[in-house]
C-alpha cells in the first residue's frame, strides 16, 4: 500500500518535473525519401509536436504536417510512411497512410502525422524520429516502395474497395438520379452511426485473465460464403471464456486457379442478446504462405482478444462468424468482396465503411449532394 502511495507521489512529481519541449525539425526528425522516390518533400512542419521525459522513457507526441509533391508519371492513390522512434520498443513504431487520393503528376498534397511514440530516454545521439517512405500506389495499381509494412497489399485493397464503392454510387446515380444517391448517402451515414462498436484488448499468447473469465470452451466458427471468393473457409474454432476469445484457428482452401500468398478472415462475434460486432481481422500468420490451387492450410494466431463495450460492459461471446475479407495472389493481385456479396450477407451493418465510402459520406455531410456528384465525375 505504501509503495503504491509512493509510486503515485513519485508519478505526480515526475509529471510536474517532466521536461516538455517542442521538437526541433532539423535535429529531432529525419525524413528519408529515396533518391528515386515518386514523392518528394517540399516542406515539413512540426506543428505542436513535443517530446517529454516520462521516467526512463521519452514520449513523442507528433503532430507533423508534411507537404509532398507527386514526382511520378501517374496519379497517386495512396501513400504510406513508416514513423519510427525505436525499432524494438513497444509503442516505438507506427505508420501513417493517406488513401483515397487523386494527386496528379506535379501536384503537391499535405500529409498529417498524428501519433504518439515511445523511445528510451538514454539513447545515443541522432534524430528522435525517422520518417521513411514505405510505399506509394498509383492509379494503375503500380506500387513503389520498400514495402516493409506490407503497404502494397493494404493500399491495393483500399484502392479496390474505393473503385467498388465509387462504381456502386455511380450506378445508383445513373439508375435513380440525385435522390437515389442522397438516399444511399443517408443509409450509409445511418449505418455508420448505428454500427455496433466494441472495445477490444489484444495480447499475444495465453489468456489475459484467469478465473474471472469462467470456464474455457471451444467454439466453432460459422462461415459466410462468397461465390467469387478465391479462398474458402472450411472449418474453424477458437477458445472462448466469457468475454475472451483466444487461439483462433481456421482451415482454408484455395479454390482459385492461381497460387495465393495472403488470406485474411473477418471475425464477427455475437453476444447472448444476439447482437453482432466486428471483432477483428484474422490474417495469415505465416509470412511464407504460398497456397497452391486446391491446397489447404490454416489461419491461426497465438493471441487473446477481450471484448467490452463503453469501457466496462463485458461482452460474453456466444457465437462467431467468419468470412474471407481479403486475398492476395502470388502475382500481387488482390481480391476483396464485391458490394453485392456484402449486401446479401447483411455485412454492411456490421462492417466499417471502406475509406472511400467514409470520405464520400463526409464530403456529402459537409458540402452537400452537388459536391459529391462533382467528386464522382472526377475518376
Amino acid at each position: 500500500m505504501s509503495s503504491k502511495i509512493l509510486s503515485l507521489i513519485l508519478a505526480g512529481v515526475a509529471a510536474l518535473c517532466a521536461q516538455d519541449t517542442p521538437l526541433d525539425p532539423h535535429s529531432s526528425v529525419k525524413i528519408n525519401l529515396p533518391a528515386d522516390s515518386p514523392v518528394s518533400l517540399i516542406s515539413a512542419n512540426m506543428g505542436e509536436s513535443r517530446a517529454s521525459a516520462r521516467g526512463g522513457a521519452m514520449l513523442l507526441d507528433l503532430h507533423m504536417e508534411l507537404t509532398l509533391r507527386n514526382s511520378g508519371p501517374r496519379n497517386i492513390r495512396g501513400v504510406t510512411l513508416l514513423v519510427l522512434a525505436q525499432e524494438v520498443t513497444p509503442g516505438g513504431r507506427a505508420s501513417a497512410t493517406q488513401t483515397s487520393l487523386d494527386v496528379s503528376p506535379g501536384a503537391v498534397f499535405p500529409m498529417h502525422i498524428s501519433v504518439r511514440l515511445l523511445r528510451p530516454l538514454q539513447v545515443a545521439g541522432g534524430p528522435l524520429v525517422e520518417v521513411s517512405l514505405d510505399g506509394v500506389l498509383f492509379d494503375n495499381l503500380y506500387f513503389y516502395g520498400p514495402n516493409r509494412l506490407e503497404s502494397r497489399r493494404s493500399l491495393t485493397a483500399w484502392e479496390l474497395e474505393a473503385q467498388r464503392d465509387r462504381q456502386h454510387l455511380k450506378s445508383v446515380l445513373a439508375a435513380y438520379g440525385p435522390e437515389g444517391l442522397k438516399r444511399s448517402m443517408l443509409d450509409s451515414l445511418n449505418r455508420q452511426a448505428e454500427r455496433p462498436r466494441l472495445d477490444v484488448i489484444v495480447s499475444r499468447g495465453g489468456r489475459s485473465t484467469t478465473s474471472a473469465a469462467g470456464a474455457e470452451r471451444t467454439a466453432q466458427f460459422a462461415f459466410l460464403k462468397f461465390p467469387d471468393a478465391p479462398v474458402e473457409a472450411l472449418a474453424g474454432s477458437a477458445q472462448i471464456a466469457g468475454s475472451e476469445a483466444r487461439a483462433p484457428r481456421v482451415q482454408i482452401r484455395n479454390r482459385s486457379a492461381k497460387p495465393v500468398r495472403y488470406v485474411e478472415l473477418g471475425w464477427i462475434v455475437r453476444d447472448r442478446q444476439g447482437r453482432e460486432f466486428m471483432a477483428a481481422s484474422l490474417p495469415a500468420s505465416n509470412p511464407e504462405l504460398l497456397l497452391a490451387p486446391g491446397q489447404s492450410d490454416h489461419l491461426l494466431q497465438d493471441s487473446t482478444l477481450k471484448f467490452s463495450r463503453n469501457g466496462a460492459e463485458a461482452i460474453a461471446v456466444d457465437g462467431m462468424t467468419g468470412f474471407i475479407s481479403q486475398v492476395e495472389y502470388a502475382d500481387g493481385k488482390v481480391w476483396v468482396p464485391n458490394r453485392t456479396s456484402l449486401e446479401s450477407a447483411q455485412l454492411l451493418r456490421v462492417l466499417a465503411p471502406s475509406p472511400e465510402e467514409q470520405r464520400l459520406t463526409d464530403l456529402y455531410r459537409k458540402k452537400g449532394l452537388s459536391a459529391l456528384m462533382e467528386e464522382l465525375k472526377k475518376f
Binding site: G56, R93, S114, S303
Partner: protein
C-alpha cells in the same frame, strides 16, 4: 531533492518495480550518487542472501532455534564459570556484545528474507497482462504491467478503429483540413 525510500530502492535493485515505477526511479538514480550507493549495497546484500539461500541444508527456522539455544547455553555456561559478583541481584540483560551480535544476525536474517520474498501481486500482473494493445472510444492505448499509455488520439470526431488479431491496431478518420482519409497503425511488436 527527495530520495526514494529504502523499500523502493530495494525493489529497484531486485528488478521488481513495475514499468512506470522503474522509469521514474531510474531517472532519479541515474543522477544521484547517494541512491546509487544504496542500490549497490542492496544488490550486494541480495547477492549474499542468494548465496546463502543456495546452501542445500540451511533451514532458517532451525538455524534461528539453534542460535537461540546456543546463546542460552553460552549464557548459562558463563554463569557457571564466572566469579560471584559482590551483589546477588539477578541479571536480566545479556552481555552487550551478545546483544549486538544477536541483533545484527536477526537484522541480516530479516533483510535477507524480506529481499527474497515473492511479490505475487506485481509478478502475476506482469505475467497475466504482458504488453497489450487496446482500442476504445478514447483511442489506441498500450498497456504494460498494469500501466496504460494512450498512443493515438487523433482528435477527429469520427474515428474508426480496427483490430488485427496478430497484434496491430488501426485508426481511420477523415482529416478535417485536407478531406483525405488518414489511417494510422500501431503495433504490439
Amino acid at each position: 531533492m527527495k530520495h526514494p525510500g529504502g523499500e523502493t530502492l530495494a525493489l529497484l535493485a531486485g528488478g521488481e518495480l513495475g514499468f512506470l515505477d522503474r522509469w521514474f526511479q531510474r531517472r532519479h538514480v541515474s543522477g544521484c550518487e547517494s541512491c546509487q550507493r544504496e542500490i549497490e549495497a542492496f544488490s550486494d546484500l541480495r547477492s549474499a542472501a542468494s548465496e546463502l539461500s543456495e546452501l542445500p541444508e540451511v533451514g532458517w527456522g532451525r538455524l534461528a532455534a539453534e542460535m537461540r539455544a546456543n546463546i542460552r547455553l553460552g549464557l548459562a555456561a558463563g554463569q557457571c564459570v564466572r566469579k560471584e559478583p559482590a551483589s546477588h541481584e539477578p541479571r536480566f540483560l545479556p552481555a552487550p556484545r551478545s546483544l549486538v551480535a544477536c541483533a545484527s544476525l536477526a537484522a541480516l536474517l530479516v533483510m535477507a528474507l524480506w529481499i527474497q520474498r515473492p511479490l505475487p501481486g506485481r509478478r502475476q500482473a506482469a505475467q497475466q497482462n504482458g504488453i497489450v494493445l487496446e482500442a476504445t472510444g478514447n483511442g489506441i492505448g498500450l498497456q504494460e504491467g498494469g500501466q496504460r499509455l494512450i498512443l493515438m488520439h487523433p482528435g477527429a470526431k469520427e474515428v474508426t478503429y480496427s483490430v488485427g488479431a496478430q497484434g496491430s491496431m488501426r485508426a481511420r478518420y477523415v482529416d478535417a483540413e485536407s478531406g483525405y482519409v488518414m489511417i494510422n497503425n500501431v503495433y504490439v511488436q
